[in-house]
């Protein structure tokens, strides 16, 4: 964990998603990696522009679903075969057809919960503090009508003055320095 002090990054504000995506794509092409886009609504193109082709949510969902299904099927088997075997109309205690429905429901439940909470966790949420909220224009615009590109100080290419001039070439509304 790097020391949380000094400059977090440079934040450029754009008026339209198109401007943001063009700037983000160019920056990614120029070798920037520690960067992120912030938009008021999902802009898939922005994610693609900075190299987010895939994420781990599907894998987490799959694992959650499999674990949920296995857990419920195991529970039913344990109850019916070992813990409390009952003779129900002469059927075998291990009557798997009857176990399918709850196991199926639990697969869906746990896949859904895993998808939701996995997505939140991968996004780094819940977060009590994020340096970007130090920028007043970000606080006002990021959830309403402005589109932001942040080049972060952790990137080896980062230099306060050069990077500021570099972002200025994309004709943003403003470029502000954000501190931790």
């Amino acid at each position: 964990m790097p020391a949380r002090e000094g400059t977090y990054g440079l934040l450029a504000e754009f008026e339209t998603p198109g401007d943001l995506v063009r700037a983000a794509r160019q920056a990614h092409q120029d070798g920037w990696r520690r960067m992120d886009c912030y938009t008021p609504y999902p802009v898939e193109e922005a994610a693609e522009a900075i190299g987010f082709h895939r994420n781990k949510v599907p894998l987490i969902t799959l694992i959650g679903g499999l674990l949920g299904g296995a857990a419920m099927f195991g529970l039913e088997t344990w109850i019916s075969v070992l813990a409390y075997p009952l003779n129900i109309a002469g059927r075998p205690t291990y009557s798997w057809p009857a176990f399918i429905v709850p196991a199926y429901e639990w697969t869906i439940l746990w896949a859904g919960l895993s998808a939701g909470f996995g997505m939140l966790a991968l996004c780094g949420l819940p977060a009590l503090y994020h340096p970007l909220f130090n920028a007043p224009n970000f606080r006002d615009g990021a959830t309403t009508d402005k589109f932001f590109l942040c080049l972060e100080a952790l990137d080896p290419k980062f230099d306060l003055h050069e990077t500021k001039a570099y972002l200025g070439e994309f004709k943003p509304n403003s470029v502000v320095e954000v501190n931790y």
């Binding site: 339209t16 998603p17 198109g18 193109e45 109309a89 057809p97 009857a98 429905v101």
Partner: protein
Amino acid sequence: MANDSHASSHAKTLPAELGAPAFVDGWRNRALMTGVVFSVIALILAFLGQSQDHLGWDHFLRAWTLGTVITWGFAVGGLTLLMVQYCSGGKWGLLLRRPLEAMSRTLPLVFVYWVVIAIFMKRLYLWANYTSVSATAAGLKAGLITEIEAHCLNFKRPMLNPFAFLWVGLLCFAIWGLYAWRLNALALQRDAQGPETTPYWIKKFENVSGLGIVIYSATMTAAAIYWVMSIDVTWFSTVYGLLFLVEQGFQVLALGIIVALSLAKAEPFKTILRQTEQHDLGKLTFAFVMLNIYLNFGQFLIIWSGNLPNEINWYLDRIRGGWGVIITLDFLFHWLVPFTMLLSRDLKRNKRRLILVCQIMIFAVALNQFWLIEPSFKDAARNLHLSWGILEYIAVPVAMTAFWIAYFCTRLKTRPLVQVNDPHLKEILEPEHAHA
């Protein structure tokens, strides 16, 4: 992106020539040759089977029923998915409408297939042989039928008799034909008019299709009961029509995807097929894969739980005596393989692999029908055995489906492949994520 002025400048333009590409003729010729070869094989197998166990021609007709059900699923299922699409909307419809229309216009061939069943119904259906109470009593006395069968034959005679079979069949074909003709004719009229008429046509198609879907559900249930379920007079299931309905959606989507993706090798589909809509079709297919296992397992679970002698035997006929192998394979190809493969986002966006999954799905539909039809006959119930006749289940449906595909290709060539009077056309020509 709607608010971006750069998107429109990158929009593709529709090619001037909208007809089916030339290689569709190649498909048709290959299908015709396959049909001829397998017809010859089917005839040879029938003679071999006849000399082996005197069931050669019986098996030929049973396999014919299978072939009829499959091609019927494509033709009438195609008509229904077309109607569903007109009601639901969505850009994926632009890819499928013309192939689905072509499927619906193959109905005459399916009718010919059905006529053969109608002519030879005595070889297929017990109820066609015992058409009166006295005939049933005589059959029971001679030990040709069981007491349960005799009871069911008498009880169900108002519905299961040759007269009703013929008239219900004719009525169903008339209704499907009417809808196929109407929707196909309206679609050409729609394209001949300008964009100012689009709202009118959208409403018009919705109104025709909405009622059509309801009527179709009833008629296809009747057909499924008469043609397949009634082979075993003793058994019934209230979800039977729905099973066939979902199965038709399953097989039509699979074929529709194969056709659309194969057509994309050339114009005009090369221009209008985007990954977004391909992905959407994959997701819709996934839903049908799930719905299908849901209903099939639901029926099994209820009958298994009830464990009643007049119901459970239907399943025992289809599980014991080697049939367990078939139902296991059916489960694998019908659900497990398509389900696990279609879960993957990458696979749904990969043309070659998506086509492979769809081919497996169509094979599974045939396997499932084999499992439904053959054990209904006494010589095969709880007794899966290899004979020359069993091989008819490969030869006859392959030949019939091949001829159907040839007919389908001919139909596909008769009109432009893209419906132009549609608001989605502009959207589908826009680039997907590449240009923001």
